[in-house]
């Protein structure tokens, strides 16, 4: 084993060793934390070159289908000089993280998405590739007794041009492990990259997704395993009084009934969203038997006041607050004075619904509890939260808890709370055998942690030139943060985006207010959530009222923007969509732009509405600024997928309540987008500003879809849509 500390600004500790006959390189990011220094012998990023030449990269990133792994393979191979499609990605063992003092999570944490913003993490991956490459090169130089400078590396091979000799990396792997370099190589500067952003890499694990061999969480099979089905209180927060236990217990295959509830709540503020809801769990020999017995439950629940809640009562409660000033506010200039002299005043109220993530793999988790050990197979998007919950619920130490990697069938934010993981642990502890818990689609739909409901009031004062100089927003929104902290009284990180953050629209006089609300259900992160629909629709209203072109108005609003990406994206999407082109009556374009998770995205939707109100979305043009693109085809796929997710949200998705219960249950009444309504999507790369920014692109295409479509509907029909989904609206015109 040899160790080197690279003491440039990145402060990496690089270790090489022989592990299981392979060259192993670890790159650990050093911090000023003494404890981290001590554990530095272990790894943050771990690269092995096997004797067959296969590079195996181990990182704490979970691949959920968004291309994270492909991006990392490209970072590695930019330096390692081999085919990125030959890289095998492995998920780091979170158990080891605890045994060895956060050795993995200190490089960026267990996140399902890869953020290029974590430059340090990207550089650690690149450093692993560079340090491995130079050791392989030195091993070849020693073998041939030539100078390292005369050896070139490409395509997983070291070549000596003068003699025509070559070695595959695999042949050099063992010798390279004992190489001592006088100093570690520097990684390439971004301007010298030849792979990242220059070529597209196919997704690394498609093969197992087209032959049925991929093992998702729901597919796990553990010897001796039982199956669990759950019925949670149909009114969220209600408590079980009684049920027909005698009947259920005697149903075929039933082994045990487990009652869960908040009485023994072990959650902490950080894991509050995972707290156990009152539930009846049926454990059986097969899932179908568990499900059938669950369907036979007749239960009496203490519903409390929540049992009378309807969507109308929620709306009325929020609506009343909309008229109340809030002390949670931010002011700039003198809004009242500016309004007093405004040439034109524009006002409108908007509404955004609760929506369900509806990932295709229903929530599930498999657990096996033994007195000194807990094994878990959890398709989560946040493994560190899952670990914390497993510790709380089982009472074991993290070192005794083992998460086994599984594939994840969609997340969209719903696999952050890990409530199903907590249930699985509780059930496994009650049963004493391995148990696979599967939520029915009805449970998934009704027991959601939804996209936050919000009412948003806007007022704008326009000058004689038609441009706004006074801007007022008061939002009454279901607060994600209030759920975690009853004393929270700021601008909610989810609901108030992009009203209070992530915008560079410039108004001289501003008054922003919010009321943080809660209801009997939970809300949570949701792909592309926030108030972009409301904000970007109202901007369109201002344009109309002031006689300005919507693109021109946005250019003016962005006149002070520090980030040049805004205008570049706006101009790119306007140009490529042929903004303003003549269209027949009933057919029109609409535009919207936003910033989400670091990436600006602009979209132009082209729609037509028939006189009897039938909407067709023909196309969506999209431009964006991620900075520097990593994997062009992967990015295109995320833009397509994000836009279709947003379109689905816009057309029909809404969770509503009656008698405290969610009225929707499955895909027949919670309708999501299908093939036939998929428009043409045109992805334009000209908005990127390049440079050191490498931002993620999974969330940002979602928010502009709704306002772009609704703004197009207005121009096509004269009807302004101030709430979604569109299924609620009569769009007919004459």
């Amino acid at each position: 084993m040899s160790q080197t500390i690279l003491l440039d600004r990145r402060k990496f500790l690089i270790t090489s060793a022989v592990v299981a006959g392979a060259l192993a390189i670890s790159v650990k990011i050093l911090t000023s934390d003494a404890k981290d220094q001590e554990s530095a012998a272990s790894f943050g990023v771990w690269l092995s070159i096997l004797q067959d030449g296969t590079p195996v990269l181990t990182t704490p990133k979970i691949e959920t289908g968004n291309g994270t792994n492909s991006s990392m393979a490209m970072f590695l191979c930019e330096e390692l000089d081999c085919d990125p499609s030959s890289v095998r990605l492995e998920e780091a063992d979170i158990n080891r993280d605890y045994r060895e003092g956060k050795v993995i999570s200190s490089t960026g944490g267990y996140l399902a998405w890869f953020s290029g913003r974590s430059n340090q993490f990207r550089e650690a991956v690149q450093q692993a590739g560079a340090s491995a490459r130079e050791r392989l090169k030195k091993a070849a130089a020693d073998r041939w007794d030539v100078a390292m400078e005369d050896i070139s590396s490409s395509d997983g091979t070291m070549r000596h041009a003068a003699s025509g000799r070559s070695f595959g990396y695999g042949e050099l792997a063992l010798a390279a492990a004992s190489v001592k370099l006088p100093e570690e190589p520097q990684i390439k500067k971004a301007e010298d990259w030849t792979l990242i952003g220059k070529r597209s890499l196919h997704q690394l694990n498609s093969a197992r997704k087209v032959d049925g061999s991929g093992v998702y969480g729901i597919d796990v099979q553990v010897p001796g395993m039982l199956y669990a089905s759950v019925l949670q209180a149909p009114v969220q927060g209600a408590q079980l009084r009684s049920f027909n236990a005698g009947t259920v217990r005697t149903m075929p295959g039933v082994k045990k009934i487990v009652l869960l509830g908040p009485k023994n709540d072990k959650s902490t503020p950080a894991t509050r969203l995972s707290r156990l809801r009152s539930a009846i769990v049926v454990v059986a020999d097969h899932y179908w038997n568990a499900k059938r017995a669950t369907d036979a439950i007749e239960a009496d629940w203490d519903e409390g006041a929540a049992g009378a809640v309807t969507s109308e009562t929620i709306r009325a409660r929020f609506r009343a607050k909309l008229d109340e000033p809030s002390k949670t506010e931010r002011r700039l200039g003198d809004f009242e004075a500016a309004m007093a002299i405004a040439a034109t005043v524009v006002e409108a109220d908007y509404e955004a619904p609760y929506q369900e993530h509806a990932a295709m793999e229903p929530l599930n988790a498999t657990a096996h509890f033994q007195p000194d050990r807990l094994d878990l197979w959890a398709p989560t998007q946040k493994l560190d939260t899952a670990m914390a919950i497993a510790v709380e619920e089982s009472g074991l130490k993290p070192e005794q808890i083992f998460f086994h990697p599984v594939m994840v069938g969609g997340q969209f934010g719903r696999r952050n709370p890990n409530d199903e993981t907590r249930q699985a642990v509780a059930i496994a502890m009650a049963v004493g055998k391995p148990v696979k818990l599967i939520w029915s689609r009805e449970e998934v739909t009704r027991q959601g942690a939804y996209r936050p409901y919000a009412l948003t009031r806007f007022r704008a004062g326009l000058g004689p030139d038609g441009f706004p100089n006074a801007w007022f927003v008061r939002q009454v929104g279901h607060s994600y943060q209030r759920q975690l902290d009853p004393d929270f009284d700021g601008f909610d990180v989810i609901a108030m985006r992009p009203i209070a953050t992530e915008t560079e629209y410039s108004f001289d006089n501003v008054n922003l207010e919010c009321h943080n609300m809660m209801t009997h259900v939970l809300v949570n992160s949701f792909r592309g959530s926030g108030a972009t629909f409301q904000v970007e629709s109202f901007i369109d209203e201002i344009a109309h009222a002031g006689g300005a072109d919507p693109v021109e108005l946005r250019r003016w609003l962005l006149r002070n923007a520090k980030d040049p990406g805004w205008l570049k994206v706006l101009n790119e999407v306007a140009e490529k969509s042929k903004w303003g082109k003549p269209l027949p009556r009933g057919r029109a374009q609409g535009i919207a732009i936003n910033l989400d998770h670091g990436t600006i995205t602009g979209q132009v939707a082209e729609v037509s509405v028939s006189p009897d109100g039938k909407l067709t979305v023909h196309s969506i043009d999209v431009a964006f600024d991620v900075g520097t693109v990593i994997n062009p085809e992967g990015l295109r796929a995320q833009m397509e997928g994000g836009i279709l997710f947003g379109l689905s949200n816009t057309l029909r998705e809404e969770i509503t309540f009656k008698d405290g219960r969610v009225e929707q249950s499955n895909f027949h009444d919670y309708e999501v987008l299908r093939m036939a309504e998929t428009p043409e999507i045109r992805v334009h790369f000209g908005g990127n500003t390049g440079g050191k920014k490498l931002e993620p692109c999974g969330e940002t295409p979602v928010p502009p879809v709704a306002p772009a479509i609704c703004n197009a509907i207005f121009r096509a029909t004269g009807k302004r849509v101030r709430s979604i989904p569109l299924k609620k609206h009569d769009l007919s015109w004459s």
Partner: protein, 151 residues
């Protein structure tokens, strides 16, 4: 005891007669390529073929199978050689991938009945749900595979 013909092999199954084929495949036989998505034949994640006809396995009871020949995603081709599987990989169709077993089985059924499907044919037949939004690539992959199969 039921004897099922699945992907060219016989399997004995001991299960209640109303057990959906989906759960027979997944829990009794360990063939987990066929996915559970909704349980009410709405999403198509569980699509398999019974005597060459597309069915939603979550609504297809065990006692309806009889002597029929069942084909699942695992039996579509020996080594992912089916043109649809190849196009699925070449075009990076899957994202999370969970719905794709059902999508592929639906697409195979489509191409069996319509050699060169139009966009309208694809819209009418491919009603499975994908939440990641892979529909544009699925459409393209079907067109390309149709061209390969015809050639």
């Amino acid at each position: 005891m039921y004897t099922l013909q699945i992907n060219g092999k016989s399997h004995n199954v001991e299960a209640a007669s109303d057990t959906p084929l989906l759960w027979v495949l997944r829990d009794h036989l360990g063939m987990t390529g066929t996915k559970f998505g909704c349980g009410i034949a709405q999403c198509g994640a569980c699509t398999v073929h019974v005597d060459g006809e597309m069915v939603r396995a979550c609504q297809y009871p065990l006692d309806a199978v009889g002597e029929s020949e069942i084909t699942t995603i695992e039996g579509l081709s020996p080594d992912s050689a089916h043109p649809l599987q190849q196009e699925w990989v070449a075009l990076d169709v899957p994202q999370c991938g969970y719905c794709q077993s059902g999508m592929l089985m639906a697409a195979v059924a489509l191409l069996k009945n319509v050699q060169k499907p139009t966009d309208d044919d694809i819209d009418a037949h491919m009603i499975n749900i994908c939440r990641c939004g892979t529909y544009p690539r699925i459409r393209q992959a079907i067109h390309r595979a149709a061209a390969t199969l015809k050639a």
